[in-house]
Amino acid sequence: MGAVPMLTIGVLAFLACAFVAALVMHLDLMNRWLERPYLMIFPLIGAVSAYGLLKRTKQRNDLAPFRCAALIFIAALGTLACSFWPFMIPSALTVEQAASPAASLNFMFWGAGLFVMPLTLVYTAVVYRLFRGKVVEMDYE
């Protein structure tokens, strides 16, 4: 448990630096955050999960810190996505410009999207379930 608070602070400091650096480098980003303050929900979720992570670690709870840590990264990626949306490459290429023509997207949606993707999720869940629980003792035979 000793390392968790320090590592958490390190991750948060890095994320904050990345956020500030993005705002300074692309000033139009700043306007977006000022115009739509409700976007602050993502950094807020991150902050709450960080608090939860530290608190639950102290309580020696096993599962909750993992969930909080996952939530921090979801919040960070959400912040990134709504900072740059609709750009894939900031101020150069939007999602729509980067997308394939409809004939390609259709082909992917009706096969990979509708059938293969759910199937993949199912067997991934099954394999995850197979390896559920904590590793008590490593054995490579």
């Binding site: 394939s100 023509p101 993949t120």
Partner: protein
């Protein structure tokens, strides 16, 4: 002699692709071989098949890993060395490579974990099933790569609009006669 960017790109691609292909071609056969040994083990129950399986599984694991990391280099080269090709043919090659990672690589990688660490956690039938899925994944992988490469050798089912290759008939692309001469052999 001055090397041009094109020549350097070609040399780099030739080296990386030649190095890469050693590993997948080995794992495609080896995955099927693992299924055969595990089937013999299931049917006869002889411990020698278990020993054989464990021996080849370790070799499979290392080869699989090398195939993945040497393959990722190629994916970067498609975008960087051959960016113009990718820009022009991306609407066709992109979905084919997407299908490769979706139907083949995800299947292979998920069940590979069961083969390596899941012997004591799964039933014998489930373990055998995982071996079959890994073999199926490697074969699908070869299939999609063959479809993509066959399209590059003999393009069909496309129209060129504004210098971009647009797919017009996916059935023609996937069931191109070139694929079906090259893939089964």
């Amino acid at each position: 002699m001055m090397w041009t960017a094109l020549q350097l790109s070609r040399v780099q691609f030739a080296f990386t692709v030649s190095f890469h292909i050693i590993f997948p071609s080995f794992t495609i056969g080896l995955a099927a071989w693992l299924v055969v040994i595990e089937a013999f083990h299931l049917v006869t129950g002889k411990p020698v098949y278990r020993r054989l399986f464990d021996f080849w599984l370790k070799i499979f694991a290392v080869t699989f890993g090398l195939g993945v990391v040497s393959g990722i280099v190629l994916a970067f080269e498609f975008g960087m060395n051959w960016s113009r090709l990718s820009e022009m043919t991306g609407p066709i090659q992109g979905p084919l490579l997407t299908y490769e990672s979706f139907t083949a690589f995800a299947l292979e990688a998920s069940f590979f974990g069961v083969l390596i660490f899941g012997r004591n956690r799964s039933s014998r039938a489930a373990y055998f099933f995982s071996a079959v899925m890994v073999a199926l994944g490697t074969t699908f992988s070869a299939f999609w790569i063959m479809v993509n490469n066959s399209w590059m050798q003999a393009p069909v089912g496309y129209a060129v609009e504004n210098g971009i290759f647009i797919p017009t008939d996916w059935r023609k692309i996937i069931f191109s006669p070139v694929v079906w001469v090259r893939f089964p052999c």
